[in-house]
Amino acid sequence: MKLNHLLSSNWQYNLKKLAKIMKISVLLSVIMTFSSFAHNNIYSQDKISVNVKNTEIRNILDNIESSTELRFFYDNDIYDFKKKISLSLKEVTISKAISLIFENKIEFRLKENVVILEKSQLIEKDNVVDIKQEDIEQRIITGIITDDNENPLPGATIIEVGTSNGTTSDFDGNFSISLENEDASLQISFIGFETQTIAVGNSNNISVQLTIDGSSLDEIVVIGYGSQKKSDLTGAVGSIKESQIIERPVATINQALAGKIAGVQVNAANGRPGGKSKVRVRGISSINSGNDPLYVVDGVQLPQGPTTFGLSNTAIDYINPSDIVSIEVLKDASSTAIYGARGANGVILVTTKKGKSGESRVTYNSEFFVSEYGPNATPKRLNSEQFQMIEQLAYDNIAKFDPTGWASGNYANQEPSKKRAGAFLGDLVNELFDSSGKAKYDTDWYNELRQRRMSQNHQIGFSGGDDKKTFNASIGLRDERGLLINSYMKRYSTRFNFENQVNSWLKVGGTVDFSVRQENNQDTGPWVFESATHAFPFLPVQYATGNSPFFPPWFLNYASNLEYGFGTGAGGNFMYNPVMDLNYRKFMTDSHNFTGSFFTNINISKDLELRTSVSSNILNQGRKIFYPQFFNGGNNGAIQSNARNVFYSIENYLTYSKEIDDNNSITALLGASWQQTDLTWFQGDGYGTPSDGYGPNNLGAASFKNSSSSMSREALNSFFTRINYNLKDKYFFTFTARADGSSKFGKANKWAFFPSAAAAWRLSKEDFLSNSDVISNLKLRASYGQTGNSSIPAYASEAQLGPGSLLGGSNIPGYTAGFGSASAGGTGLLTLENTGLRWEIMTQFDIGLELGLLNDRLNIEMDYYNRETTDMLLNAPVPESTGFSVIRQNIGSMVNKGFELSLNSINIDRPDFTWNSTFNISMNTNEVLSLASPSDIFDVASPQFLGGGSIIRIGEAIGSMYGFTRLGVWGTNEAEEAAKYNYRGGKTVLPGDIKYKDLNGDYVIDNSDRSIIGNGYADAYGTFTNYFKYKSFDLTLDVQYSIGNDLADLGLHWGENSIGGTNLYTTVLNAWTPDNQNTMIPQVRNASAGSVSLFDSHMVKDASFLRGNNLMLGYTFKSESIQRLNLNKLRLYVSAQNFFLLMDKDIMSDPQVDVANWNVAGGNVASQGFKWHEYPKSSTFVIGLQVGI
């Protein structure tokens, strides 16, 4: 009798695994359903006895049939049923009986009272040997295979290592195997779980617990308010697991995400320890309101957007990545719609470690690392000899570029020898220069900024539990020392969670997470890096022979550009030394982050469950800023401030899960949520304390004092529902709807409704593909829906009066009046009322394909999406004759279209050598469809000193760079043509001057000659990761790439033009000369003799790059060798991060930039790719240890 799929037990099993592994109580009732099913299947529990001698197997089976209700179905070809055996079994399960009868060489399945015998895949018929009497006497090992929740795993494969001897576990996870060898080891494997090898030793009974293997297709992914098997998903969800997170030891979750998921772009702005990274899911969806994704940690939504003192850090940055087991990124409308108002920019779901029943574990991870400037991290600058050569040339060329001024002697003092003899230096001139004027020092200022300190990271975890209660606790310490002197980030974190199944219908649990993060930020302004770039190389950090006569004694012996004739201080016109700055200036932030949540799960019936969760996130940040006297010409400044961000939420939701029959199942969700955020902020400033000794700690001693404060509240109320319907395991449907009310909008527009729908079709489950040898998984899915964005400041719809926004670089509100030497606070107009303000809506269409080939050895997932944002919340311009420049309005739309592809491949899979590859690529294009007024919005990212930079224009992409086009440098044969132009401040344009493209042909180079010259967002980006394992060694190679992003290197402005006052980039060595006319760099001349520097195409570079993100080599000790130490895991690894960088040679330093928050480039969506001096990126070398007990 031939029998095919009478029943596939897979779906039951997977549901069971799903529920138990994830402990998502939504599905608790499913477990119960299944359990009851299992119990009803009495035959699996029935015990039978067999006592035969030399009897044919077919007769034995007949005997069993006659004494029980069991019926056997089998194909006579699969085994020699006429074989005679002898067997004596008493009160064993049918499974065990069959295993012994067939020597584990037959697989079987049990449905009701039917036993289906099938040919084992493990052993070919040819290998079946006649059984002998003595075989029975062989050593038989029995055992049970369970998952980590002690649920039996049927169908697991057990192989005696080094032999072809093997078996599979039965329905209850039991197995028995006759060993061929003494000292045998068993290898136990099961799809979706990590393979384990166990030495049998002397025991005759072994229980093996398998743990989930993260890379499997059958994995469970967390979705909003629930979880699903990946194969059942209808939406686009990217996911990374613990094993990928620990690959790269980083400080924040955002850094861990970098490059791991298609469609998720992480831009690290700079190399500050624990530094900010900006995460964008599928591009920029909004011009004016927030673009940050929503983070949900174990179901608790975190506040969105930068924290008050975060320097762009968001709440997620305060959570220790070592506590994470998985991160899921919801990308399309179907998956994000359940978060409605907060889901417009994607949702990042973070799941932290939980305890496991019956298992107490202690883990300890430890890392030590050192950092070095990364490849190309610092700009290339002239050395002393080169500088002096350029300095002389620049002086000599004045005669050409300002003949009048030269003739009237205006530049006499700028002759280098006179500058050296200037009175600022006094006798120090002899320390700096020899008698011929040659420099004695050659200082590499970036070298001097660097500290060489060891950083470390430690994490201890405890977990355990019994069948009712589980807990997980961890404590972490990270002490990260940055590249720069006194730059550090220390984090002390603890996390504790517990769950308790109180009784049959009630489960409670909670989490407490507390972390303290202390940092000294050395990148709060560009000064340090700007001045390290531009400090004269011939100056020492500190004079050996004393203080300059120019500076008072409190400047110690530090050197500054200002001491040299016509030298200008970088970062403002004050005396300044970057090393001194790092040594004495303070910018310390102390953040205390508390997250607490408590939930109850109530099983109302076996299908219906209610979950209630109450959670809170409290971020308390204190900041101390201190500018010593030298920073502002003898007047010190101290600022202390405190911000408290209190977020809390209450959520209730009902989940109904029902297996209607074998073909239909449904999960429905209905819930409500209330969220509120309260923010208070206070700041006190003091300037001019009598001594730097007070530091930032005694504002009372200051001669000028000022204080300010604010508070705000925002609230969100939502009702949501979702229905997941599964038809025949082939067709999946999801409908989601959410109604959101936000306090931020006008009374009539507080509420909005966001629906979505999605469907998926698993073609591989259809008859025409189910037998395919090649295609193991094929799924098509599509979704369409809406989400909303309300990430605008609170009170935006109201008319407001107040003291005005703070004046640049101060804590003084703009409406403060001065009367004599006194100041008087003012109250003036801030915003105009707009009662019609309403939600920004994003409508997204997504179509995806998931393909698994060759038994899922190659997995491909691709998505195409189209996201259109309408009713954009824009600070839209109004006539300024109203007294306002902008009003927050719902005008404008844009679209993001993109394609994402991920490939996962198991290239080689041998017992002692495996090679896996992961590749992903994301492409996104953006186009502005409409704006408030059809006119361009200029210079939102304006480089302050260059009068232009970016543009938002209909039909173009956000991030467009807007400027002049540099054609080159006027040649000697073009003197006549050059002279027709007028752009050198009235002086004649000469050969050696920059040649701009004159778009309108009017011989004037002005604003109308600007055009789009670049875009800061990449055309494509992604990573390529290879993972090799050879015996106990593993090797990870992770490279990251970005194609087609442009970099606007504003540093070139001073780097190539500030000639005379500061050090320069080495590119000026290639400046125009009559002998070197084919260059972009104008002829060197003293800046005051008329040099033109405009934001132009020369400053825009192709910043495509290929970066070696991580190279890690690990060694995992064999379990038998560490058992003696009572350990179950011991792994050592070394890793190098950011270890190579390929890019255009033209770029002066690292091409990957986000936007500096410094006023230089506005810091908004349009300023992506604008680079101004910043904290250099580092290469990090790590040695780490992972221990498990």
Partner: protein
């Protein structure tokens, strides 16, 4: 299975309770902004009135605001005069002003427009709301008088820069008729300015005020300035010379306003709002430092704290040389210029390589050979009306009415006396007119006055010939570019035209 049984009604109850508890808060989504104020809840007391007025005063500082790299908004009125050079070429908007090739996109035009109307909007709030406040009547009247003055000052600048402009005199909402305001004719704007200033004149302000508030002297001086402008181009209502002379005379005859004896006293921090300083933009510690200083400073480290200049306002050499021999205003470190100074503020005397503007140099902050500078920031006010200008307005208006007389000759003599110059012996109406004009150029240079004189008189001082050229066709010597008819008005900001369909552009800028 026990799971099939519902464990009593208590579970159902607990569910309903959880939903209800939250639903009970019906005001959950209501907003109440506690750190900003709301126009309906504010303007209730004298404290509110003063605070609202302070915001108007604060807004006057827009003239010094940043206009891109190395430039402040007021460069709009300086770079086009031809009497200063721009030696830094990094700000293309400023370059285009210097070379008279500017268009409607330049930051200076946009910022002054925005600043003007921000001031007007805040002044309109005071003017609308303060009358309803219960508070001492005399102070209420003064507050209104100050607000009317400040609004008049803003409109007076704007009407001279752009000609016809939107005239908005009451607070706006998104639905207001004036939200997209069209241009009002210049004469109507002037009428409003005069009416505002007349209100101020009757509001009981003290004659002088040393804290920097609007004083009666300031009101009358500004009125005189407005009248003499109305008498000139483009309105040419010459009858206003009488009013100009009258108002100027009231200031001259009043007590408290006078010339300082030396030019150094003019830019001494301790003399702010005193004697010669009738009204100015106020800078103070804990408020804002004067951002304009950098454009005047030389590129040499001659200041305590090391501030060096942008070189965007360097004296044009012909203009520098056009001062008569012996004119103290040209004498190094005595008048308006310096050609050497002390390193680091108080060190060795060093040559600057040419003349730089000394008129706004804050000695107390930067230091000198006798005083070590404070180095804490330049908080020197920026003068809007000096008594010297009032004297010259009086002389000019009076001469236009009836030719030279003792009073008008004496007014000019006071200016020339201080410069160490004598008065020419005999003066016709015409030669006196030229003399007054020339004094205006030399006395009031680098104070945002000269450009408006050029437009009002349609004459430009030719510093190479010493005579006056017609505005149209005059060549600015710093850039070698000639003034055209269109330059009499600046362009309306391009963005404003886009955002307000009711506006039109000035001729020559389309």
């Amino acid at each position: 299975m026990k799971y099939f049984k519902i464990k009593g009604i208590n579970r159902i109850l607990s569910i309903s309770l959880l939903f209800l508890v939250n639903l009970g808060c019906s005001d959950f989504l209501d907003e109440e902004n506690q750190s900003s104020l709301n126009p309906d809840s504010f303007y209730k007391s004298n404290v509110h009135a003063e605070s609202a007025l302070n915001a108007v005063y604060a807004t006057t500082r827009f003239m010094g605001g940043n206009a891109g790299g190395n430039s402040s908004n007021w460069h709009l009125l300086e770079a086009v005069t031809g009497q200063s050079k721009n030696n830094s070429s990094s700000n293309q908007d400023l370059n285009s002003l210097s070379s008279l090739s500017y268009d409607s996109n330049i930051a200076h035009v946009k910022n002054i427009w925005a600043g003007t109307y921000k001031l007007v909007a805040n002044a309109n709030m005071v003017i609308e709301k303060v009358p309803g406040i219960y508070m001492p009547e005399n102070r209420k009247k003064q507050i209104l008088g100050e607000a009317y003055f400040l609004r008049a000052w803003a409109y007076f600048n704007a009407v001279r820069i752009w000609g016809d402009i939107p005239l908005i005199t009451s607070p706006l909402g998104t639905g207001s008729e004036d939200f997209y305001a069209a241009r009002t004719s210049q004469s109507e704007v002037y009428n409003q300015i005069v009416s505002d200033l007349k209100f101020s004149e009757s509001s009981g302000l003290p004659f002088t005020d040393q804290t920097g508030r609007v004083s009666m002297a300031a009101v009358k001086s500004l009125l005189a300035k407005v009248y003499i402008t109305m008498a000139g181009n483009p309105l040419n209502k010459t009858e206003y010379y009488v009013d100009a002379a009258t108002k100027a005379k009231e200031v001259i005859d009043g007590s408290g306003a006078d010339l300082f004896d030396t030019y150094g006293e003019i830019h001494e921090e301790s003399n702010e709002n005193k004697v010669e300083h009738i009204f100015g933009i106020q800078y103070a510690p804990n408020v804002e430092s004067n951002p304009m200083a950098y454009s005047f400073l030389p590129p040499v480290n001659i200041t305590k704290g090391g501030a060096t200049g942008w070189q965007t306002n360097v004296p044009e050499s012909n203009f520098y040389n056009s001062f008569e021999d012996g004119d103290l205003r040209k004498v190094n470190r005595k008048g308006w210029f310096f050609t050497d100074y002390f390193l680091g503020g108080s060190g060795a005397l060093t040559d600057l390589g040419g003349p730089y503007v000394y008129k706004h140099f804050n000695v107390a902050n930067y230091g000198s050979d006798v005083v070590e500078g404070k180095g804490t920031g330049d908080f020197l006010n920026f003068s809007i009306i000096r008594f010297a200008e009032v004297l010259l307005i009086f002389a000019e208006a009076s001469n236009e009415i009836s030719g030279p007389n003792a009073d008008s000759l004496n007014a000019v003599k006071r200016i020339r006396d201080r410069a160490g110059l004598t008065m020419p012996s005999s003066l016709s109406k015409e030669s006196f007119q030229k003399l007054i004009w020339k004094e205006r150029w030399h006395e009031l240079c680098y104070e945002q006055i000269t450009w408006f004189d050029m437009v009002r008189l349609r004459k430009v001082f030719d510093s190479s010939s010493g005579d006056f050229n017609n505005f149209v066709g005059h060549t600015n010597l710093d850039s070698n570019q000639s003034l055209q008819e269109k330059h009499l008005l600046f362009p309306i900001p391009a963005l404003e035209l886009v955002n307000n369909p009711n506006l039109t552009q000035n001729p020559g800028y389309n």
